[in-house]
């Protein structure tokens, strides 16, 4: 059954492209590659494994990188801090010493030395050591005037560093104690525009001889450390990225080693499933894959053996049937002749003997037809059934079949209705076989018709021709439509065979249909009757893709209504699926 593409003839209309919102359009554009990606993900074990590896590695790498970075930061800062602190302590000592030397211990008269000048010289002296790797700036603040609480001391600073770079918190702590305090804080430089650098500051109080309290701060810019850390970060980043990519590549190669044999195994299994029973896997090594291959091969061997056995068995059976049928022919002919003689002379016998002779004749007829059908079936099984096609008008075939069964129908009290198209429907078929099929179908319909009319319809289009035989009898129960074509199947085992059917009729009809390359389908509903449809290609060798007559008769009503003639439509109707039982005789491979 072919499935046409995007079912655009389906019910609900879709908005055209102009009506789609931009979001929907973008989603639509993304959907196609996304669907491809998703499909690739689902189908490829390799991609899944590699992706999982990379994701996990990425997590690990990120964690390790973060750890490394934090360690390096700490290390770099510790180094800088210790050297900065050492320099600062040296400076503090020197400054305090210079201050002591220069400022005279004061009396309460308030004599003060030019402490500004002193600090200018001290700072100038200290800052000569700044430069190169160990750069620093110095800021001097006054916290307390000599003997007084406020200070008029103007801050001194080196270079262009801004005095307000020193945070208030540091100033407070430094001013409050005699010990040095340190902090990490950005350093601002005056200029247009002002620039800022990360920095480390350490300060202490200095006391002048006249009880003045001052604060000396060393400001160490951390620009070099920043640059180092940026370099480290960049390096770590590139290294991690490279590492991840390489891990992905390695994982790809490693997984390939596992996946390739599995793929090979899958291919061989596919071939086996497709029917190549000789396919076996290569067994390499002793690992799990080798074990899999060995078991697979064992299973395949077993399967092959079993299937061969079954095939042999089946063939044997077929041959037996054929042989037996043939063998039975000979004695049957003889018996037949004797029975004919007896039948001819039945008038001369006593009534019971005459009756016996009639019975004998009848049963021998049945026996003969059964044998004929068995032979026919066995010919089909052996594959030696031969098609003898002729150009025949199907209407003629239908007429013939109904006419030949007219007597039977009359006896059963069933009206046979013939619905033929006006024009000729010529098809290239084997008339004998088709006639057999039709007679079988009509006979079945009469048999199960329950004294209601049986309709025979013929329909045709330019490619196929279809016959339906409709009865309004018992119908078929759910599940029976499929098994109705089985050999020796009986709808109702209790039912007597009034028409003398053998149980092989439909099976033979199915085989005949398949020889022509057509369809034979059954439909039925309990109490509403059943319909059998035969569809044949008009040209021998053509394929049947659709049938002109519907499978389910409409209306599904009583016998009074006549079904309108089905129009010959090109393309035909597809058999619609309903809740009713529907069966197609399956084609044997």
């Amino acid at each position: 059954m072919t499935e046409s593409g995007a079912a655009s003839t389906a019910a609900t209309p879709r908005p055209g492209p102009a009506l789609r919102s931009p979001a929907a359009r973008v989603l639509g554009l993304l959907a196609r590659p996304f669907a491809t990606v998703l499909r690739g993900w689902r189908r490829s074990l390799q991609i899944r494994v590699v992706t999982a590896t990379m994701v996990l590695s990425a997590i690990v790498v990120v964690l390790v990188g973060a750890l490394l970075q934090s360690q390096i930061v700490e290390g770099v800062l510790t180094t800088k801090e210790s050297s900065a602190v050492a320099e600062a302590y040296r400076g503090f000592e020197e400054a305090q010493r210079a201050l002591d030397e220069e400022t005279l211990p004061g009396s309460d008269a308030g004599e003060s030395a030019g402490v500004g000048l002193v600090f200018g010289e001290i700072v100038s002296q200290l800052s000569t050591r700044s430069g190169g790797g160990e750069r620093f700036e110095i800021v001097v603040l006054g916290s307390k005037g000599p003997g007084e609480s406020i200070t008029q001391f103007s801050p001194r600073a080196t270079g262009v560093v801004r005095v307000d770079s020193v945070p208030d918190q540091l100033i407070e702590l430094v001013a409050a104690s005699d010990d040095p305090w340190q902090v990490y804080h950005p350093i601002t430089y005056a200029g247009v525009p002002t620039t800022t650098e990360l920095g480390f500051m350490i300060g202490t109080t200095l006391r002048s001889g006249d009880d003045g309290v001052y604060e000396l701060y060393y400001l160490f810019p951390l620009d070099q450390e920043e640059a180092t850390l940026a370099l480290v970060q960049r390096t770590l980043f590139t290294a991690s990225a490279l590492l991840l990519v390489l891990i992905g590549v390695i994982a790809w190669f490693v997984v390939r080693q596992t996946v390739t044999p599995v793929r090979l195994a899958a291919r061989i299994a596919e071939r086996l499933a497709a029917g190549g029973l000789q396919e076996r896997m290569h067994v390499r090594g002793e690992d799990d894959l080798a074990r899999l291959a060995t078991s697979f091969n064992k299973m395949a061997t077993n399967l092959e053996r079993q299937i061969k056995q079954l095939e042999d068995l089946s063939r044997m059976q077929q041959r037996f049937v054929s042989d037996v049928s043939h063998e039975l022919r000979t004695p049957l002919t003889t018996v037949r002749m004797a029975a004919d003689v007896l039948h001819e002379a039945r008038t001369q016998l006593n009534p019971s003997a005459a009756r016996s002779a009639e019975l004998l004749q009848k049963e021998l007829d049945r026996f003969e037809s059964l044998l004929g059908e068995l032979l026919e079936i066995s010919r089909f099984d052996a594959g030696v059934a031969v098609l003898e096609p002729e150009e025949v008008d199907c209407r003629e075939l239908a007429r013939q079949a109904t006419t030949s069964l007219g007597a039977l129908a009359e006896r059963a009290g069933i009206e046979l209705v013939l619905d033929l198209p006006a024009g000729p429907c010529v098809a290239e078929v084997d008339p004998r076989r088709i006639d057999r099929i039709l007679r079988n179908l009509v006979a079945n319909a009469i048999e199960h018709g329950e004294r209601r009319p049986v309709q025979v319809t013929v329909g045709a289009d330019d490619r196929t021709v279809a016959f339906t035989v409709r009865d309004h009898g018992v119908g078929l129960r759910p599940g029976e439509a499929a098994s109705v074509f089985n050999r020796f199947w009986r709808a109702d085992p209790a039912r007597t065979r009034t028409t003398g059917g053998t149980g092989l009729g439909l099976a033979i009809a199915l085989e005949d249909t398949h020889l022509h390359g057509g369809w034979l389908q059954a439909w039925g509903r309990p109490g509403l009757g059943s319909q059998f449809r035969l569809t044949l290609p008009r040209e021998l060798g053509g394929a049947v893709e659709s049938s002109t007559l519907p499978m389910v008769p409409t209306p599904v009503v009583g016998p009074s209504a006549r079904r309108p003639a089905a129009p010959a439509v090109a393309g035909g109707h597809r058999p619609s699926s309903t809740t009713d039982e529907l069966a197609t005789g399956s084609r044997r491979a």
């Binding site: 008269a109 700044s130 007084e148």
Partner: protein, 576 residues
């Protein structure tokens, strides 16, 4: 399949090798080739800035004065921050053009501290210190001998309406420490034409380096005329006296100087050229100036800038150095090379003239020597045939030196009286007496005329010994005006003009060997040389300095602290 296997093996092996190499490169190198080193980036100055604070609430009088001093050390036009420390009515009257530069200062209160009497409304603070220098209203820097001029000033403070102490009697000058001076003020050269208008003579003034209108101030200084180092009699001035200088405007590298005034509009082409030349020479050193354009009454004057031709050394560049050897042979050499002494042509090169000192003219055609007795001055052309001519006879001649006009200047020290006679021998042989009123009673040991022919340096000995600078007033009776006194601790032995603003001086300190010192023209910068035992020096702008030691070795200065011995001799000189 086999090929793939070998390929894979090969790939793995290569990977292994690469890994080994990579790990090997990760360590710190234990060896490396020796390469020449180059200095990294300089990190900037170690200048100490003062962020002066306004007067704090509750500051004591001493603190107010301290703050006032700090405020004066941070330059801002008009010193508005320093004004805040003054009483409101004292602000207008405060003169802030002159500067007193001090080395040290102490503040004390002659009266008991104000803290003892919180209700006091008056206080005084005495500033006591040591003057280091003075910069007058014109910008002229005067160095002061250490310890020679104590500084004392008593500031009176009163409480202002808000109850804060404020200074009531600010001095008529700014007080800046020598430490802070170099940060806030810098020397600038101003140029004035000599009377003939052929040379631009540099003068030096100090101006605040952070002043935004520096160019205007410099232009105004040109209009105002030279300091007494070179003028007014020594040089002329192309700018008429009542010229008004407007605000200069700098845009795109061109500085426009607007001039106006009745006299300046009448100036002629030659005067305008000189004005432009003066402005150009003066203003080019300022950053961002590529061109100077002058407008008179709004109209730009289109005059070429030939300031380069008016340079004192134009035409006299790259001279050799001359050495008078012990054998009286005069040799010249390229001072930038280590060796290569060659005899000068003529008599002097052959050592036929016994001399004790040597001078060479700026055009290097003539030499003047003083004979061994020190009584005669002989002038010899530096040519093969040149013959010495006696041009002067005296008692004890020091010098000589040539000026740019070919005159020989010398000093004859008479035994009668401590005075020294200064004589100028003109190229035609005429001897002109030069008066030096400032040298009456002083004994001169050296006299050098600068290449510009206007400035003169005189070394005197005896009480008040110093290096004195001044200018020559030319005319029928030339006069030397010595206006600058550069004091040194010890005896000044020799001096030489080393550059436009710089002299190389040999000073013998009271306790120690004589050394060369590099001194700026106004005495503001003194750098001590590293070689000892020098008796005389020879210097020329842009050329290495030479020194003669007491053991008669001739040394050449190769770097700031390094002197190489070149040869031996009894005199070394550059032209001039």
């Amino acid at each position: 399949m086999r090929e793939r296997k070998t390929l894979r093996r090969f790939g793995l092996a290569a990977l292994g090798v690469a890994t080994a190499l990579a790990t090997g490169c990760a360590a710190i190198p234990t060896e490396s080739p020796v390469v020449a080193s180059s200095p990294g980036a300089d990190d900037g100055s170690s200048e100490v800035r003062i962020e002066a604070r306004p007067p704090q609430t509750g500051a004591t009088p001493t603190q107010i004065v301290e703050g006032f001093l700090d405020a004066m050390s941070s330059y801002a036009p008009g010193f508005p921050l320093a004004e805040e420390f003054l009483m409101p009515d004292a602000r207008a009257g405060w003169v802030r053009t002159a500067i007193e530069v001090y080395n040290r200062t102490t503040l004390d209160q002659p009266e008991p501290s104000a803290a003892a009497f919180p209700d006091a409304t008056q206080a005084s603070v005495r500033l006591a210190g040591e003057r280091a220098a003075r910069i007058d209203a014109e910008g002229r820097f005067t160095a002061v001998a250490p310890g020679s001029e104590p500084l004392e000033y008593v500031l009176r403070l009163e409480r202002d309406p808000a109850g804060e102490w404020r200074i009531d009697n600010p001095p008529d000058f700014l007080l800046i420490s020598s430490f802070d001076l170099s940060r806030t003020y810098s020397p600038f050269s101003t140029y004035f034409p000599n009377p003939e208008g052929t040379v631009l003579v540099p003068d030096q003034i100090w101006l605040p380096a952070g002043e935004p209108q520096l160019a205007t101030l410099l232009a105004q200084a040109l209009v105002d005329g030279p300091t007494d180092l070179i003028g007014p009699a020594g040089v002329g001035n192309a700018f008429p006296t009542d010229t008004l200088v407007g605000r200069t405007v700098l845009s795109g590298g061109t500085l426009t100087v607007p001039l106006s005034g009745p006299a300046v509009s009448d100036t002629d082409g030659a005067a305008r050229r000189l004005m432009v030349a003066q402005l150009a020479e003066t203003l080019f050193p300022l950053p961002g100036i590529d061109r100077v354009s002058v407008t008179i009454d709004g109209e730009a004057i289109d005059v070429p800038d030939d300031s380069s031709q008016l340079s004192a050394l134009a035409g006299f560049a790259d001279p050799p150095v001359y050495v008078l050897a012990d054998d009286d042979v005069v040799r010249s050499a390229d001072p930038t090379q280590r060796s290569g002494l060659a005899e000068v042509p003529g008599v002097l090169g052959r050592g036929e003239l016994a001399s004790r000192s040597l001078a060479v003219s700026l055009d290097r055609t003539t030499a003047a020597t003083v004979d061994e007795t020190g009584t005669q001055v002989l002038r010899t052309p530096l040519t093969e045939e040149g013959q010495p001519v006696r041009v002067f006879q005296g008692e004890d001649i020091v010098g000589p030196s040539f000026d740019r006009y070919g005159n020989i200047w010398l000093v004859d020290r008479r035994s009668a009286g401590p005075s020294s006679d200064i004589r100028m021998v003109q190229p035609d042989g005429a001897v002109v007496a030069v008066a030096a009123p400032d040298l009456v009673g002083a004994r001169v040991t050296d006299l050098k005329i600068a290449a510009d022919g206007v400035r003169v340096a005189v070394v005197t000995e005896g009480p008040g010994a110093a290096l004195r600078l001044g200018h020559v007033v030319r005319g029928a009776a030339p006069v030397i005006d010595l206006t600058v006194n550069l004091p040194f601790e010890g005896l000044v032995v020799d001096a030489a003009w080393a550059g436009e603003r710089e002299l190389l001086v040999v000073v013998a300190p009271p306790a120690g060997p004589p050394r060369p010192y590099s001194v700026s023209v106004d005495g503001s910068a003194v750098t001590e040389g590293s070689v000892t035992g020098t008796t005389s020096v020879a210097a020329y702008p842009s050329r290495p300095a030479f020194a003669l030691t007491d053991v008669r070795t001739v040394l050449r200065q190769t770097s700031v602290f390094q002197w190489d011995q070149v040869t031996t001799g009894k005199a070394v000189t550059y032209p001039g």
